[in-house]
Structures are given as C-alpha cells and as structure tokens.
Symmetry: D3
Subunit: 253 residues, 6 copies
C-alpha cells in the first residue's frame, strides 16, 4: 500500500487534463496529477531570438514557476528575490529540451513558442506534470496556428510525456511519487519519453544515497509503462478537443 492509498507501486495517480483553460493564450491546459495542479500555456510570437534571425526556423522555450503558496510552507517569490533559483532554471531548461525533441523547428517559420508552466498546487512531480501538460498545450497552439497560416508540415512529430520514479526506504521502485513518498525516497528519477517508446531525458539522483544497476533497470521499466499510459490520456484529451496529432516519426536519433 502506498502512502497516498494507491494499491500498487506501478500505479499512476489520477491524471486529468482540461483544455482551453484560459481565454488569451493560443494553447492552454489545466493538468491535475493527484493533488498536483499546473496551468500550462503555449504562446506563439511572430519573431525569434537574435541568434536565429533570418534562418527561416522557429524556437521554443519554457518557463516554470510556483505560486508562493503552492506548497505547505510559503515560498518567497523569485521576482521579489530578484533572481531565479537554480532549481527553477534546471526545470525550465528540462521542459524546453524535452519539447524540442519532438518538434520540428523548421516547420513553423520564424516564430517563438513560449511555454509557461505555473504550479498552482504542488504534491510531487510538478516538473513531469508540467511536461505532460505543456505538450498538450503546445499541440493546441500549433493546431490553431495551422488553421491560420500554411505550415510546411505539422511541427510536432511525436507524443511526449514524463513521469517520476524512485526507490523507497525498503529499496523498492515506485512509480509517480507523491510529495510524501518523494520526501522519504532515497533515489529520485525523472524520465521523459516519446509515443514511439524512445527516451528523451533520464535524470536520476541519489542525494546522500546511491543505487544499483538492477534498481535503475527496474525504475526505467516502471517509467516506460507509466509514460505510455499518460500518452493514452493525452490522445483522448486531444481527440475530445477535436485536435488530431499526425505523428510523423517512428523514432529518430
């Protein structure tokens, strides 16, 4: 039995994705994974950063933040501190890299997609929920763009989702840790994969601990299964929103 009453170590938390959550952004979703709640938006701007100008290709970048009271203790706003923390930077770089792995930057002209993931309530797994939700918001923004302008091809070439896995204090692997499990875990992994079963990111760390190759293999197995389930949910949500994603890639490297 899990700390939040799930029955199995390979069970995902209830995951719900609500599309068109806000009226202004080109794409927006509200994703809930257990008690973790994130607003993900995708904004399309008709220009690229200076280093890309004149090359005819686009850019996608991500930002991540938490409301001060998304957590049990209030956090000082990063705007008040005047700088972004190392943790925030790591997460927004991760989200951006992950999305770029399934997006064809040549397909949508000199445009920038700004992805914003704002955590309203945190209960573990905020960065993986952000990736899973941001993917859907980005698909919706590109769908809207594709209705307005002619694109070379649909810019998204595969599905993408993410999940956390870990090792609990008995040495057993767990899928999709809630905050209480995460705090007790010795090892913490975040895995990002595509719909075609390829890995995009594997980030595992044993703060003040270590893990064996067998434990690593077990965690990766759980993550693969969990991510395919999350992609099933994404497909359903996009279907319901009338947005079909034409997957054009079997897996690239």
């Amino acid at each position: 039995m899990r700390l939040d009453d799930r029955e199995n170590r390979e069970e995902l938390r209830e995951t719900v994705i609500e599309t068109d959550y806000l009226k202004h952004p080109e794409g927006s979703v509200f994703i809930r994974v257990g008690d973790t709640k994130v607003i993900c938006t995708a904004s399309i701007e008709k220009r690229v950063p200076p280093f890309l100008r004149g090359q005819g290709k686009g850019w996608i970048t991500a930002e991540y933040a938490m409301l001060p009271r998304a957590t049990g203790e209030r956090n000082i706003r990063e705007s008040s501190k005047g700088k972004v923390s190392g943790r925030t930077m790591e997460i927004q770089r991760l989200i951006g890299r992950a999305l770029r792995s399934v997006i064809d930057l040549e397909a949508f002209g000199e445009r920038t997609v700004w992805v914003d993931c704002d955590v309203i309530q945190a209960d573990g797994g905020t960065r993986t929920a952000s990736i899973t939700g941001a993917f859907v918001a980005t698909v919706m923004a590109f769908s809207r763009l594709a209705q307005d302008v002619a694109l070379k091809s649909f810019p998204i070439v595969d599905y993408l989702a993410a999940v956390s896995v870990g090792i609990d204090d008995k040495g057993e692997a767990l899928l999709d840790l809630c905050y209480e499990e995460d705090s007790a875990a010795a090892v913490d992994f975040n895995v990002v994969m595509t719909g075609s079963g390829q890995f995009v990111e594997v980030q595992g760390t044993g703060e003040e601990a270590t893990f064996s190759r067998d434990q690593l293999d077990e965690m990766l197995g759980l993550a693969e299964e969990g991510i395919q389930n999350l992609i099933g949910i994404q497909k359903q949500v996009l279907d319901d929103a009338g947005t079909t994603l034409p997957v054009t890639r079997e897996g690239k490297t």
Copy 2:
C-alpha cells in the same frame, strides 16, 4: 449599452468567489469578476518582520502578480527580469494598506499574514478584484487561526471591498470597467471602502486627460453603491462557508 453587453453604467459584472480553493494555505479563494480571475491566498507565519519584534503585535503584507499569459500579449516574468515593476509595487502596496485599514494588528500576536494575489486571467479591474478576494481569504485564515489559538479579539473589524470607476469618451461615468472599456476611458479610478460606508483609498488619474469636480462626485457615487453590492456577495460567501465575521467597528478615523 456597455462594451461587454451590460445594460447600465451602474451594473457590476458577474462576481463569484469560491472558498478553500487550494489545500495548503490557511485561507484561499478563487474570485471571478467577469472574465478577470484571481487566486487569493492568505498565509499565516508565526513571526513578524524585525522592525516589529517584541511589540506583541502582528503584520499583514500583500504581493500581486500576473501569470505571463493572463493578458492578450504575453508579459515577461518579473522573476526573469530580476525586478518587480513599478505597477506591481503600486498594486501590492495598495492591497496591503487597504487590508490593514480593517485589521486590528494588536489582536493576533506576533504573526505575519502574507496575502498573495495571482491573476490567472485579466480583463480589467485586477487590483480591485484582488482586494475583494483577498479580504475573504484573510477572513478565512483568521477564522482558522481563531479555532487553533486564543486571540484577544477577532482581528477583522469591518468588511472591505474595492471597485473601479471611470469616465468614458462621452464624458459619462461607468462602474466596474472591463479591459476594453478601461482602454477607451479617459479617467480611471479605484475606490476601496468598508462595510460601514467609509472610504479607505481613492486613487484617480487622468492619464493625458483631466476631470471636473462633478465627474468626480458622480464616480464616487457609483463606487459607493457598487462596493456595497460586492460586500453583500462577500457576506453570502462567508456565510455559506460557515464563517461569521463579527463586525466590531462602526467606522474609525
């Protein structure tokens, strides 16, 4: 006829306040005023800033922010810019002052109440919606505190709400402007009042314009009526949440 289809210039937009919106904060509401949506939380911390230590009294302070895509165009995050804008500072100082006018800082010991107003979607009047919502979140946080510890008295001595008023391009006064009306208005006022009909803040400005004493009087009249209606909604919401606010003041100066 108003730009957002309201029938009269003295009509408020539909205003809904949802309590206990988040699980972590001591008090939290989601307030919707037309298409303006704000999450307001009140967090109670068991200490005060250095300048107040040892005096046996508390403090209340407010912060305000917008999600980058709360608006039609994406705004750069203030955490990325490394500083808080003048507009944000003005607004958070306003919210803090307004709340302090109805709170007895001597009543709740050496505690700080952090009020956070995060605008999810903006359609005009975000600062006044923040005050109206923050008041309810603060009442709920103090109610919870009053259940846990013995307070000298309930710290909130009167109701408090805020609304915007303005002058349109025909020179007529309007209550509770939506974004489109606000953009077209020559004069923009924000008014904060208490349940006992006293003024707390009157901030009016005619950016590149001016206004007469008659117009000022007309706007104040609209504001007084609008605010009493908003306070009616607050009373109902607190009632539904089982929180009775014992108003102990008839109006102080």
Copy 3:
C-alpha cells in the same frame, strides 16, 4: 494653530521658486515649500524610446530621488541598494503622468523630456513640491527649445500644480501638511490640478484609518484653493523670467 505656527488650516507654507538654478540643464528650478527643498531639472534629448520611434511625437518622463540626508535619519542610497523602492516608483510615475496631462506630445517632434526632481531637504509634501517645480522647469526648457527650433505649437496647454491635504487627529482637514503634521495625520491626500480648475490626480489613503464622504469633500475644497494660489506663484515666476505661457486649453477630457 498649526504645528509649524501657521494660523489657519487653509494656509499654504511659504513657497519660493528660483529659476535657472543650474547652468547645464535646458530648464532648472530650485523650489522651496516651507523647509522642503527640491531641485527640478528638465532635459531635452533628441530621440524617443523605441516604442515611439517613427511616430513624430515626443515623450516626457520623470525621476525622483532624495539625498541620503534629506531626512532626519539617513536613508541608504537606492544606487547602493541596487534597486528603486516602491515609494520612489510611485512618485516618479505620478510626476510623469501629471506633466503629460498638460503637454501636447505631438507638438515637439521626436524628443524626450527628462524631468529630474532631487529632494535636497524634506519636510513633507516632497512629491507635490516636485510637481509644482517640475512644471516650471519644463516650461522653461520648452521656451528655450521654441527659440531654437520651430515647434507646431507651444507644447504646454495649461498650468499645473499639486498640493497635499489631510485629516488631523481631531478629524479636521488641513492644507499643505509639513512633516510633523503628516506623521500625525490619519488620512493623506495628494491632489494635482490644472490652471483651468480640472483635476488630474486624486490620491488619498487612510493608512490604518478611513474617512467619510464629507471629509473627502472638505479636503478637495482646500486643495482646489491651494493649487490656484500655487499657480499664481508659478505665473509670477515665469513672468519674472520673461517666459509667457500661452494657455491654449480650457480643460479637456
């Protein structure tokens, strides 16, 4: 009797404006209101901010600061702190908005007017003295400009001055509060008006207090009278400096 020995609550402090105080700026004044002393300069630069380029119109912006020892206790310099305080931002936004309300930005081509108000000594009312002085410095800078280049029309369309009003601890309204009165006052208003009797800004706040509609009306009455007296002084000073201001507006909205 007032705390600084004035006889009536509607009496202004002695106000003196010295023109051409510095040799470098296009316009400069030293304004003294009681013991409050401010150097106001207006500098004209032959370019506009990026958002205005190519539109053929100008811009005016204001900055405000205090010498560290303008006050009873030394303040840390904002340059040393590395950021401008919320109070400073509020004041410089106020000064800029106020000046823009009587200036025709179309009249002086693609130029920026930088208004700098530096408080040498503070004794209450520094922001209103800054506006009253900055207006004169700006008139003088435009007069000099009008001698050098052909302008469509003289850019200043009306007089402009500002004053503070408040409510003392007996509930009575006072005009032009000195620091000691301001500290004791429950309510603090700043009012900006034009020569034609129109309001430009009304900013009133009852920090930890409130005020009635009657008190508000009484304060506005005092402010109207005080500002017309200040405008009389401005007219005399400009006259003595050989600068006639051709008022071209009866009051716009």
Copy 4:
C-alpha cells in the same frame, strides 16, 4: 578511430591529477583529462550555514566556473553579467550532490567544505573532470583536518568519480567525449559512480534527439568501466601523496 585519435570507443583520454597545486587551500588539485584542465580546491571553514547550526553536523557545497577564455570563443564573466547562468547552477548543484553521496556529514563537526572547480581550459567533460578532481581535493582537505583535530571517523566512505558517455551520429556509444565529439553527438550522458560500483547520478539528455533502451544500456556499461579506471588513477594519486582513504562502505542506499 575517434575524432581526437583515440583508437576505441571505450578508451578514456589521458587523465593526470596533480596534488597540492596551490599553497593556501586545505586541499587542491590540478586535473587534466585530455585537453580539459580544472583547478579543484577544497576549503574548510569552521562554521555551517544557518539552517544547520547547533546540529553538530557539517556541510559541503560546490561552485564551478570557467575562465572567460577557457573555450574557443571568449565568454562574458558571470560576475560582469551579475548573475550565474542556468548551466553553471546545474553543474555546481550536481558536483555538490555527488560529493555528499560519499561523505558522512556527521563525521566532521560543524564545518563547511567549500569545493571550487575552476576550468582553466575546456575540451569537453568539464563537469565530470571537476567531480573526479574535486573528490581528490576533498580527501586531501579531510586528511589534513584529521591530522589537526579528532574526527568521529574519516568523513569519506567511498571513492567517487564521473565520466561522460554519448551516442555518435552513427548511433554508436562513446566513452569520455572530447569537445568535438560532444558537439557532434546526438545524446549526452553524465554518470557518477562510487568505488563500490553504485550509481550516484545518471543524467542523460537527447537535445533535439532521442535514444532507445538498448543504447542507454550500452552507454551505462561504458560508463561503469570508465569510472572504475578513473578511480584506479585516484587511488594511485592519493597513494603517492601518502593519503590512504579508508573505504568504510560497501554501498548504501
């Protein structure tokens, strides 16, 4: 054949560690891995950060930087930019976590170990060379400390080293990539392991690419072998310096 003339894809670059490189720090090494050169120092300070005071345990933290011209193009100093980049933050957090996984913070009292890794010349793998070098500098600092004061036990419980692995454009795994290989690689992994063969960190990313489970397994195999070779070099260097590391752990989790 490799781009830098190594013969096999499982071959490490020449790795040399020079101890006692500087006269002031408690521990210091100069590590060279191919053309990558890093100065690693360990400084022991007799106090801990506020959050640890009074608990009788120590802390270890790491900082990382590059000389402006460590690379082919000059980089602007982070001190001139006024902020540390996301990349730098990621790396110094990684180094700190890695070291903490083999250090018993209870063993050396209320002291902070500051580890500084300054890259003098970069040719790929600067973060992994930093970890491998920093480990030796830290051992030497603790050896010196152990001579001066009585410690509960020697604080370092296992060896620690790190290496990069990647997938080249033919889809083959490579060990210890030089800069030219790294630039051409589709996938980039950094692996940190202990002397007892446990994993500490696995960070792999396919910027604009993905990788299969088989490729992941192959990379991990190369990394395991490479790291054990690096640990052999560390043992020899410490032996030559007369510092024996009493490994007290078989592998914890």
Copy 5:
C-alpha cells in the same frame, strides 16, 4: 591665459564653502569651486559595521553621486541602472581613505560617520572638491558630537584638502583644472594632503599618454601650494562658524 580666464597656471578657482547648509545632518556644507558645486554632509550613527563591533572604535565611510544633470549631457541614475559605476566606486573609496588618514577612529566610540558628497553641478575636480568640503562637514559633525557626549579626544588630528593638477597639450603643468582643461589634458593627477604638508594620496594617470619624472615633480609642487591655500580657506570658514580644530598631529606615518 587659462581656458576659463585665469591668469596663471598656479591659480586656484574661486572657492567658497557655506556651512550648515541643510537642517537635518550633523554637519553639512555647500562647496563651490569655480562652477563645480557639491553638497557634503556628515551623518553620525550610533553603531558600527559588524566587523568592528565590540572593539570600542568608530568608522567613517563616504558615498559620492552626481545629479543626473550635473553635467552637459544627462547621465542615467545609478539607482535606475541598479549598480554603481566603477568611477563612482573609485571616488567614494578615495574620499573615505583620505578622511580616515586624519581621523582617530579610537576617539569617538562605536559610531559610524557617513559622509555624502552629492554633486549638484560639475565643472571638473568634483572628487577633490568633495574631499575639501567633506572635511569641513566632518569637523562640524564632530564638533556637535563633542558638545553632546564626552570624547576621549577630538577625533580629527590634522587639516585635509585635495586638488587636481595636470599637464596641458603644450606639456605644461596646470593647477585645479576646469572641465574644459581636464578634457584637453594628457595627464590628470589628484593629490590629497594634510595641513602639516604630508601626502595622503597621489593618483596620476596618463590615459593614452605618459609623463616624465620632471613633469611629475612640477605637478606635485603646484599641488602642494594649492592645497595649503585651500586649507587656509577651510580654517577661515571653520573660524567663522565658531569651530576651532585642535590640530594634534605634526604628521604621522
């Protein structure tokens, strides 16, 4: 003939020092050297920086700034830029060191003297005018302190003044350069000396130029004479203000 109509190369500009210029600071002067005008204040605070606490001695530190329009072109405020320039830092470090050379830090207990030099109008030699004026402001602040509390001894042990010297484009030495001379000069020296004829600071630089030993000797000779004249003015001013400086030192090293 000099560029500003002085007759000789060894002639100082007219120098006037007005004492008690502001009402709040413990000591304040307005110093005018030709068209250079500086407000110098000395503020005494009853505490010292952390590194001096508990040692029974005091501290003196200086800050320097220019109004944005003290110069021909408007300068951006350092508070707006969010950082203090290298030039400003150099000057305030110079002023502080110079003052400390004639002040006995043991004589006035655990107090900090904050010296603020704010340039109202600049015409060359602002840093030397600041030192000459700051000395008088500091004497006056200590005189006031000596009236209020018992000091071990009067903290100022000698007079102190500063002047600039330079080499013009004909290779000749000039005393006390105005801005126009300074711009044309190849070499620029600032010299600080005491009443007893000792040197405190000699800072000479030939930006894009060099100078011979003979030229250096000639400049130092001019500076020595000029500074003794400035000290004569300081003595007169302090005498007029009823403040006698008991010089207790013949020259220390």
Copy 6:
C-alpha cells in the same frame, strides 16, 4: 633582511613568464612573481563597442578576478554576489588604461582586445603582476594577428611593466612587496612605466597614514629601477618565443 628572505629593499622577487600557456586564446601567459601566480590572456574579437563603430579604430579592455581560494581565506565569488567589488573595478580600469598608453588604437582596425587576468594564487602585487603579464600576452596576440592580416603598423609602441613600492614601519622604502610586507606597510604605491622610462600611472595611498615628499621620491626611484628589470625579463621571454617587439616610440605625451 626582508620578511620573505630577500636581502635588499631594492630586490625584485623571482619573476617567471611562461608563454602560450593555454591553447584557445590568441595570446596567453602564466606569470609568477614570487608566490603570486596569474593567468593573463588576450583575446581578439572582430568588432568594437557601439561608441566606436565606424571609426576604423580598435579598443582594448581588461578584466581581473581572483579564484576564491587564491588567498589565505576563501573569498565569495563575485558572480555569486551578483556584483563586482570596488577593488576589482579599480584594478581592471587600471590595467586597461595602462595597456592603452602603449597601444596605437588606430593600428589594428575595428577589433576589441579583451585582456583577462585571473589570479590563481595571491601573495601581494597581483595588480602589478597582472599588468606585466598582460603586456606580454597582448604582444603575442598582436603578433599572431599581424601574421593573419595586414596591419597599418604594429599596434604596440613601447614596453610596459608595473611594480609596487611601499614604506615599511621603520619609514624605509621597499620594492615589490609580498603580502606579509604589504600588510605591515603604512604606504602602498603602484607604479606603471614604459620601456622608454616614462610614467603611465602613479597611485599611492597611505590608508590611515601619510608620507613625505622625500619618501615619495625614494619610492619612485626604486620603482623606476625595478620596472626596467621587469622589462628586461619581458624582452627575454618575447625573444625566446620568437616575437620581436618593434618599439616605435621614444616617449609621447
């Protein structure tokens, strides 16, 4: 006898300059002066700062930093503090000015030379060692440039080196102070001179002390002799590296 066992007060410490120390920069040296060790690099970039564009001339600028543990106590990195200290700014401005005095900016087109001086180990005289080393690195960078492109003339017109001098506690002058001597000295001078015996910078300060004209003359004499010896070493090193510096100037002013 000196504190570091030198026999005479006019004796330089052992000074060694190693050229081509790093592989990436256009010019790089490792300079050791006693136990002071500095890496100096010169990087040539094919553009100039905005204020020089289109004038056909180049620019040279310098930056200076210390590794955190170059000194006996660890210093916090300036990148972590988010700002560069006043001391660092002073030093890098000094290095830049000194180099510009012997460089013909018209000779190498619109290029910027970035000089970086990074102190690896500090034992007094880091700024003067930086200048002496930076000169050699800059010569080598220009030699390489002269091989690649046609220059109007070789940009360096004279040799340049720097040394410190001081007054010890017995009032005697000393050349080239080590850290221990510097800490004990009452007066501290840095002198920069050219190969033709002209002065470039003379910066002397008696922090909490003063010095006589005789002492000043004695220090300058020591510095002149020491600098000519350092220039002898530079000539030998450049000769060994096959780089002949065509001195084209006899001394300008």
